[in-house]
Symmetry: C2
Subunit: 151 residues, 2 copies
């Protein structure tokens, strides 16, 4: 239920800048869409998996390069949730991320939650908040209850 709606814009977006549409790029974009909140590492793993035994999956470096490119094209976004693990998600549906500092679980929330804060920041500091990149950390209900909070 993921890839039937091929992102028409991909090819055009690329050509518009003299760039080329390659299978690797389509694969990476597809993977990001399927695995919401995936790290480059995870995306690479998924691609290997999909490639099967004989198939060849894009190299790690290609994954990184492609992710960077797709982000420049505005097709994906990344967020740093914690230590060394940026996660990417397709930009289709903007949402903000909420990460549990204990278990690492990621939840999504309505971007509108920050509208008020965003407006005040714009007014006070002239700072434009990028809601798609926002990550709030805290403690999820489960961890809070199991007392795992302050590990």
């Amino acid at each position: 239920m993921a890839s039937e709606r091929g992102p028409a814009p991909l090819g055009e977006r690329l050509r518009a800048q003299g760039l080329r549409l390659t299978p690797q790029r389509q694969q990476v974009l597809a993977a990001v869409s399927e695995l919401d909140h995936a790290t480059p590492e995870t995306i690479g793993a998924r691609l290997r998996e999909q490639a099967g035994p004989g198939g060849a999956a894009p190299d790690t470096s290609t994954v990184y390069r492609t992710l960077e490119l797709l982000e420049k094209l505005g097709l994906v976004w990344h967020t740093h949730l914690g230590k060394g693990a940026p996660v990417y998600h397709a930009s289709e549906h903007p949402h903000l991320h909420v990460v549990c500092a204990s278990c690492g679980e990621i939840a999504s929330a309505d971007p509108a939650l920050l509208d008020q804060a965003a407006e005040r920041l714009a007014a006070d500091l002239g700072f434009t908040v990028d809601v798609g990149h926002v990550a709030l950390s805290g403690t999820c209900r489960r961890c809070r209850e199991s007392g795992t909070e302050n590990a």
Copy 2:
């Protein structure tokens, strides 16, 4: 002239857990307080600087270990602002961080800005937001105006 007012709680906090008060720990804590929003690297540099020629500054690994410890004690907090650069700040005055995705500039804002959002998250998801850890990314006025935004 920096350590006049040694944080009284430090020694007690440590002893309370059977831990020891060492000069390194005092130095690291002092450095974090002085340099608001410093990375471990920056903190290390500062310590070397203060140590002077003959003096010995804490090793990098000690800085990392100490930072982790101080955070566990609740004396400092860290936030991931971007790629590989967690920044630490003394927990005295809670505030949220706003980072410019273009120039990396860090601004502080009133935590109360998020109160509303925090309440809704608590109500909807049972998620407790840790305001001290929050970082919002976006574009600062200067970058927005100079068009450096989409580098």
